[in-house]
């Protein structure tokens, strides 16, 4: 009797999970298939799941009007530089907040935590003004700079570094290691799992970021993919095959990263509570 119940229960669970996976994943399959259809087939009714002919021409055609591969390179470059600098700056500050005490450290840390409360929109207007006064609008530096400081990252790494026993650090200092050496050789290797999650997380945030690039760039040469895609849509509001081809270019890289580093994505989000 109990076995029969379990079978029914498992069956229902599978049924529900298959249904929800279809709802959540189908739009991506539709996007991929649409990116390879021609302009007639893409609006055909009744719709056809897969293109009758896999047409790569869309990817050449969008490039004629928009430097999408340049957008791709910009996105990759900006995301990598942002991630690297953010992690380095956060980890350095976290080391101080966790292990190097000085007078007033607590007060500085409190100020750091307080800024986590302020939504980014509050600083948006003055930040734009600051960047335009210093001629950083429409430069890579302007695109990258605001993303390399993260109070969240600093906080999480500090919590992690606090768990490292002081004896371990003291032993290294006894051996004549400098602060820099301890940081590189003792601290960083010990917080690798948290770092990995934060790396993935910082990369994804930068890759998907839209509002700041929208404000900080004017010229096509500097646009990242999300911004470029929104411009693509401004030009072709209903040429779905071309729009989907653009989407495919932005979706595939982050999806591949996700396939290989899935647990770090999940860890990063459950740790920070941000998506």
């Amino acid at each position: 009797m109990r076995d029969k119940n379990t079978i029914i229960k498992n069956g229902l669970t599978h049924l529900f999970l298959i249904a929800d996976s279809v709802v959540l994943v189908f739009p991506f399959i539709w996007m991929l298939s649409g990116g390879f259809k021609d302009s007639l087939e893409v609006v055909k009714m009744p719709p056809q799941l897969l293109p009758s002919h896999w047409n790569f021409d869309n990817f050449r055609q969008i490039e004629k009007f928009f430097p999408v591969y340049r957008f791709l390179l910009n996105s990759v470059g900006v995301a990598i530089v942002t991630t690297f600098l953010q992690l380095l700056i956060c980890a350095m500050a976290a080391y101080v907040f966790a292990k190097i005490s000085f007078k007033g450290r607590h007060a500085v840390f409190i100020v750091f935590l307080t800024t986590m409360m302020i939504p980014a929109q509050v600083t948006l207007v003055p930040l734009f003004i600051l960047f335009s006064q210093t001629n950083l609008i429409d430069t890579y530096a302007g695109l990258i700079l605001p993303g390399i400081f993260s109070a969240y990252g600093t906080f999480l790494l500090r919590q992690n570094i606090m768990t490292i026993p002081n004896e371990l650090l003291e032993a290294a200092f006894m051996d004549g290691a400098s602060y820099y050496r301890v940081f590189w050789k003792v601290i960083l290797p010990l917080i690798k799992p948290t770092l990995a999650a934060l790396i993935i997380f910082a990369f994804m945030s930068s890759w998907n970021s839209f509002l700041w690039p929208l404000i900080a760039t004017n010229s096509k040469e500097l646009m990242t993919l999300p911004l470029g895609l929104s411009k693509l849509q401004g030009k072709w509001s209903t040429e779905w095959n071309l729009l989907m081809a653009g989407n495919v270019i932005s979706f595939v890289p982050i999806f591949v990263v996700y396939l290989f580093a899935q647990r770090y994505f999940i860890k990063g989000m459950t740790m920070t509570g941000i998506k």
Partner: protein, 287 residues
């Protein structure tokens, strides 16, 4: 000395990109600065911008819309999230695949997601209306329809966020000790009782956390609105952040935009405080 060197970059960033902009944002919000005139000629106009936030029709509508969004979004995502988390917590074959699948919309950019959904929701060539037509329903023109546009924005946002919410809740579920359920089974408790007497109370810290986060995110809805409807039709989906963006960067009304962003901050701050207060009263921490 070492402390200073290690802290310097973060400190510079804090001052230049957080504190300085915050302080100047307060000043700007009391001025009618339009970006074109010089800094030195900034002209202060008292609380006018703040009064305008509630008197200006577009601005007021955007605040109202965000609350409409909340009313639709919060209950559904919370209940659906609990349900998903409970189901995803079951140890059955293929569970890894299912867990991976719910997360795909979360990792994708809002821009890409919005463009795909604009197509799916298109009145003529959209898949949604095609599927509805199969069961004999003539679908609306969703994103161009005064009433359906907000419904569509809410639904797509739930679709994108459900993986995030359920994965956080799943992590909370996995922290609950099996012992409670075993004891309940010995007492012959029903599944329903176990859900309300064990799962929900012990999940409540995580629930409060995710509800607070979702509330904060809801007040900041922007990307999907700008791409899918551009705030339309006739302001039906316009949001606070969308208005901040438009006033600052399309109309050069820097002072007004800054005031709107501070009102947004006050709303978010108050909601967070209320949630904290509720949490102290209701959440079960004993394990």
């Amino acid at each position: 000395m070492a402390a200073f060197v290690f802290l310097l970059p973060a400190l510079l960033g804090l001052i230049a990109f957080q504190l300085l902009p915050m302080v100047s944002s307060i000043f700007i919000s009391f001025s009618d600065w339009d970006l074109l005139s010089k800094w030195t000629q900034i002209h202060f106009i008292g609380w006018d911008n703040y009064a305008e936030v509630f008197n200006n029709e577009k601005s007021y509508t955007s605040i109202k819309n965000v609350f409409i969004f909340l009313v639709g979004y919060m209950p559904i995502i919370t209940m659906l999230g609990i349900f998903f988390a409970v189901v995803l917590n079951r140890n059955i074959r293929g569970i890894k695949f299912y867990r991976a699948a719910v997360f795909v919309p979360v990792i994708t950019s809002w821009v890409a997601v919005s463009i795909v959904w604009r197509w799916l929701l298109n009145g003529q060539s959209g898949m949604i209306n095609y599927l509805l037509s199969l069961v004999g329903i003539q679908g609306p023109i969703w994103l161009q329809d005064d009433h359906w546009a907000m419904v569509a924005i809410i639904a797509v946002t739930i679709w994108k966020d459900i993986g995030f919410v359920s994965i956080i809740l799943l992590a909370g579920l996995q922290d609950i000790s099996e012992d409670y359920y075993e004891a309940a089974n010995l007492d012959g408790a029903s599944a329903w009782n176990k859900l309300w007497r064990i799962t929900i109370p012990l999940l409540s810290p995580t629930l409060f956390f995710i509800i607070t986060i979702s509330l904060i995110n809801s007040f900041q809805v922007f990307d999907q609105v700008l791409i899918m409807t551009n705030g339309g039709p006739a302001g039906a989906t316009s949001t606070i952040v969308e208005q901040v963006y438009r006033n600052a960067f399309q109309f050069n009304k820097m002072g007004f935009a800054a005031a709107q962003s501070w009102v947004l901050f006050v709303i978010i701050f108050s909601v967070t405080m209320v949630m904290q207060w509720l949490q102290r009263r209701w959440v079960v921490y004993e394990r």
